[in-house]
Structure formats: structure tokens, C-alpha cells
Amino acid sequence: MTERNLICIACPRGCAIKVTLDDNKEVVNIEGATCKNGEEYARNEVTHPMRNLTSTIKVTGGIANVAPVRTNGDIPKELLFDAMKVINQASVAAPVHVGDVVIENILNTGIDVIATNEIA
């Protein structure tokens, strides 16, 4: 049995969570999470950590050089920099609207990259 102490990042509350794993690295207990998202975070964090990625994407023909974007779900933490490469090579034509999918299924994660602001 091993224990891992985590600070939950699922919301700004930052709960302290204790996860207990058995010898097969299976989660046997989660303590301190105050919501379902927290429990899910803790389970993922000790098995396959996931992160939300936010960045900007190049805009052509708009009033701004870049538009802010984010993944519309969490992606594996180890893919963050690869995902940045994909985003950095992409561009989108103005006008851009909140929620526009600018990259579909990034790195085959099943997660899209969406615009998060209006760029005229």
C-alpha cells in the first residue's frame, strides 16, 4: 500500500486529497475530495495525469494577431508540449467566435481546441 498526498486542481478551492493505492497501483481509497470532480482528478492524477491546455492561435485577417484557445476537455499531461506544437502551426481566419472549434481531435485525444474569445 502506498499513499499520495495531492492538492486538487479541479477548482480553485485547492482541497488536500489523500489517495491510497494497493500494491498493484490500483486506487483503493480517496480521502479529502469534497466533490466528484476532485475524486476524478485524484484518480487520474495517480494513474494518468490530465490537464487542460490554454494558449493562443494565430489569426489571419483580424483586428488581433492571436485569439485565445483552450482544449474543451483535459488531455494527457505528457502531451502538453506536443499539443502546443500543433496549435503553433495552426491558424484561423477572422472572425473568430467563442466556442469555434479551431483544431479537431488534437493528437487523437478526442478533444477539440476551441476559441475562447471574439476576434473581429
Partner: protein
Amino acid sequence: MVYDIAIIGAGVVGSLTARALSKYNLNVILIEKSSDVAMGTSKANSGIVHAGFDAMNGTLKAKLNVKGCAMMEDVCSTLFVPYEKNGSLVVAFTDQEMKHIEELYQRGLGNGVPDMEIIDAAKLKELEPNISDEAKGALWAKSAGIVSPYELAIGAAECACGNGVELRRNFTVDAITYENDEFTIKCVCGCEVKAKFVINSAGLGAADIAKKFDGEEFEIIGRLGEYGLLDRSCEGMATRTIFQCPNEMGKGVLVTPTCHHNILVGPSAINVDDGAETSVRVGALREIFATAGKSVPIVSTRDMITSFAGIRAHSTTDDFIIQFATANDHFLNLIGIESPGLASSPAIAEYVEDMVLSVIGKPETNPNYNPSRKQPIIFRELSMEEKEAVIAKDPAYARIICRCETITEGEIRAAIKAPAGAIDVDGVKRRTRAGMGRCQGGFCGSKVLEILSEELGKPLNEMTKFGGESKIIYERTK
């Protein structure tokens, strides 16, 4: 083209000299190694127009200081430069120091300083309620004042350039040669300027330039002065310039209002190499404020909005050296122009003008000479009716860029477009005060960058803080 006169160094002295010579039909070039005027000692000093009691009787310093102090009010009002005749106090804390200020008083009389008075502790407290209770008395010099030093240089350069003087920036003198009655001044970049007469007013670099020309050596010590500037909310902590008794390193730590309603505390006085960087030393401000606290106990680093350091060129002769090169009366050296160099600057410019004319003869006057410059619009100081009128002419004055100091887009554009106008962020800051306030450019910095980039027609990421490699942002992220 061969210029009639090349002035090396666009500090306050070089710029005022350029203005003085722009009265005549002469081709004058003002050469500056930095990206802007007033980037050396003229930028970072106390901004004090000393009354003139410090220098020993009979010295050039004494003569030019008293004269310059008397000229300053008129020069500043002509050039629309902030100036205030607020008077100065040298505060004594011991009987010994009371004797010292009596000496200064007598010296002042000898130098011809007007309106001095020795006052007792009660009168001092009445004048300056925040003065230390330990103070025994003070020498009050009513003719002393405060001036915005870099704006004086900018105003003078703008006036000179309006009268036809050429300003060449980013020109670092590498070598000067003299052949066939012509000087060739070479820049480190390879380009050169030819002139028939050279005025070396390169401030801290003047001794080096003199040496580069004919090998003549002047002993100059770089003296670092560090300062802390307090927020405008401290206005009134001191209304006159408050000195402590001078010592062998200078006039000591002062507390003074500035023309822009801040309080300035400093300087330290540390001997450094003349090539030294103008860095504030670790722990220096704590020392300076501790010393300043002796005269005005309420000053505190808590109210500080910025700190800075300047280096002044101290001559071991303890006097200004304004003389022709030993073997060439067309090469005029100005060496060791330290405090009271700013106070003396209008008088130095006149003195140099006379010396130049004594050699080249009196040229024709410039029929288009204007002793002034276009009056800068200072939006925050206008009445409501004036503001409406200014905006009606140019809506850019309705857009506030710097919130702390209430500086408009119109003022920033005007500062860039003016003769000898700003070409970088700090240049805009010195001319308009955008970024001088309590947020120190946190909000307006990027907007100033955008306006500069538009006006100069160059990409955003080529804009600099103060020329050279001082770029503020790098490549595009995407």
C-alpha cells in the same frame, strides 16, 4: 558637408549651447552617443538650481552658478520647461554646523548670491513643519529653485533643432582628427562628421574625448549618485530644497520637491570608474533614507515609486574647466561640469558662445531664430474650456493613455513628431510623463509602444526602451 560647429554631447549644456549658437547663421550639428538627448548626467540628478554659495570665491563655478541661477527662470519660461523658485535650506544640527552655514553665507555674499538669510530653528519649523526637531537653524537661499533637468535639455534641443541645428543620435565618437582646418569626427559605426569647430560637452565622457583628440589628460572622477523618488501623495513633506551641511564628497543627501510634485531623496556620493554603469547599489536606498531621515524624519522607502542612479563628472581641480585644447583654439573642452552644472547651464552656454565667437568672429544672425519652441500641450493642466478646445482641434487629446499622470494620445504623438522628438519609450516618458506615475508604465507601456510603432512606421517589436538593444518585446509568438 562641413559643419561650422559640431557639439559633442546633447546633455543640458550641449543642448543649451546648441540653442545659443542657433542665433547665428551657422551650420551646427549636435552629436549624441545615446538614442536621445539628456541621457547622461542631465537625466539623473537632483534637478536643483543652486543659489551659488557653495563654490569658492573667484572660481568659474561660482561665477557661472550665480549667473545661471539668475537666468534660469527666464530660460525655462521661454522654453516651457517646468521650473519653480522654491528656495533652499542648508540645515545645521550642531553649533559647529551653525558656524559652517555662517561660512556658506559669507561665501555666498562673496559670490554675489542675492536673498540669503540665516534663520533659527523656530523660523525653520515654520517654513518646513516636517523638519527634524534636532535642527538648530538653516541658511535660507531664496533664489534657489528646482527644474526638470531632462526637460530643460529636451526643450533646448527642440528649440535648437527648430532653428536649424541638426541632431545626430546614436553617434559614439571613436576618433577625432584635425587636418586642413577641418575636424573629422568618426563614429564607432564608421560614419563621420566634418566640422570647422568642435565643442566637447560630452559630460562624463568629455575627458575621454579630449584625450582621443590630442592626448591631453584631465583627471575626472565618476561620482555615483543614487536617488529614491516618492509618490505624489507625499507632496508637502518638503516645500523647499532641504540640504544637510556639505562635506568633501558634495552637498550631501537632500530632500526636495520636484517640479512634478514628487519628493526626491538623495543622492549618495560614491566614486566609481567613469565607464561604470548607472546602477543603484544593493542596500544604498536604506542608507540614503536613513541619512535623509536626519533632516526630514517622515521620508520613507515605503512611498518610493522608483529609484535611479546618475554619475557626475567630478574634476580634481574642483572647478569647471572650460578651455581650448592646448594646441588648437577651434577645439573647446568642457570638463568636470558637475553640480552646479545644471544651475550654471544657461550661463555656461553664453560663456561658450562668447568663447566661440572670440575665435570665429561674429557671424550673421539667423533671421528665423526663435528662442522658444512650440508650446507642448499639457492636458492635465488645462482648464475644462481649454481641454474642450484642444480636443475639438485634435480628438487624440480625448484619449487618455497614461492614467496615473493623465497623459493623452495627442501629447504622446506630439512628443514623437516634435523636432528632436522621442524615438523610444523612455523618450516619450521624459517628454510627456507617460509612465512616470505610480504604476510606472505597467498599463500604458504597451499602448505607448503601439503609438511609437505607428508614428515611426516600424514594427512593434523593434521599439526600444532607450535605443540600442533595449528592446521591450521579441518575436511574434505565432
